[in-house]
């Protein structure tokens, strides 16, 4: 059962820089709406995970000129912040459980980092769409 949402935000985007700006701006709006400090640690950890999944979705999730935009939603229920992202990129099941790579690696940390930062991290393939779910208790 879904609790009352004290904060809601949604947007769609395709461009990498624009999309990242929207993601960070939405967290800033949530921060202001809830009166949290600029250095609020749980929200900072959530924003870090959101940045990782957002950049994955925006760089790998919209191949081809006819791809649908990324759909994004952010909301707060009680003390739990949740975000959803959907994209039309290829399925990514094989990458979900990748461990944190060694310190010499220049890539491949995003999903491992997001798993560490969140209380719940969901992914499902729904037809031609990837659905991501990011949850953290603030």
């Amino acid at each position: 059962m879904q609790g009352r949402r004290q904060f809601e935000f949604s947007a769609s985007f395709s461009d990498l820089a624009e999309g990242l700006d929207v993601l960070h701006a939405s967290v800033e709006r949530l921060r202001r709406a809830t009166g949290r400090a600029a250095d609020d640690r749980p929200l900072m950890l959530f924003e870090t995970a959101l940045g990782e999944i957002g950049s994955n979705v925006l760089t790998h999730g919209s191949p081809g000129a006819n791809a649908r935009p990324v759909e994004y939603a952010l909301w707060l229920s009680g003390e739990t912040v949740e975000a959803s992202l959907t994209d039309t990129g290829p399925a990514v099941h094989e990458h979900l459980e990748n461990p944190m790579p060694g310190v010499d690696s220049e890539r491949g940390r995003g999903l491992a980092l997001a798993r560490t930062l969140l209380d719940d991290f969901g992914y499902e393939r729904d037809g031609e769409v990837n659905r991501w779910r990011l949850v953290k208790k603030l």
């Binding site: 960070h24 640690r41 900072m44 870090t48 944190m100 220049e106 980092l113």
Partner: protein, 113 residues
């Protein structure tokens, strides 16, 4: 918000590279270019002044790792200065804090460099 990068010389042939903004997948190429220029144009001794970096993601960190490899291949050294809380947390969670000794200020990073 594009990453802006300023480069300035410091004592003992050290170059201070100071990015401002988000060091993420969109900003990483600008830092990579600035470090490449610094190493090509002077001794491979670089301090990255992170004070102006509001946020880092794993791709941004990847650009710092690439810089470290490039500088070490020239027998040089790279130091990070003044990372904010978010940057420090990401360094710790990825265990990269073992690779990058970071300093509270640029002045501390320059001491003995």
């Amino acid at each position: 918000m594009a990453l802006e990068v300023e480069t300035r010389p410091a004592a003992n042939g050290v170059t201070v590279v100071a990015p401002t903004g988000r060091l993420d997948v969109a900003g990483a190429p600008a830092l990579r270019d600035a470090i490449g220029d610094a190493v090509r144009n002077g001794p491979p001794k670089v301090v990255i002044d992170m004070e102006g970096v509001s946020f880092v993601d794993s791709t941004g960190l990847g650009s710092v790792i690439a810089a470290l490899k490039q500088i070490r291949s020239s027998q040089g050294e790279l130091r990070l200065a003044a990372p904010n809380q978010q940057v420090r947390v990401v360094l710790e969670l990825t265990t990269l804090d073992r690779v990058f000794p970071y300093y509270a200020t640029v002045e501390e990073a320059l001491t003995g460099f």
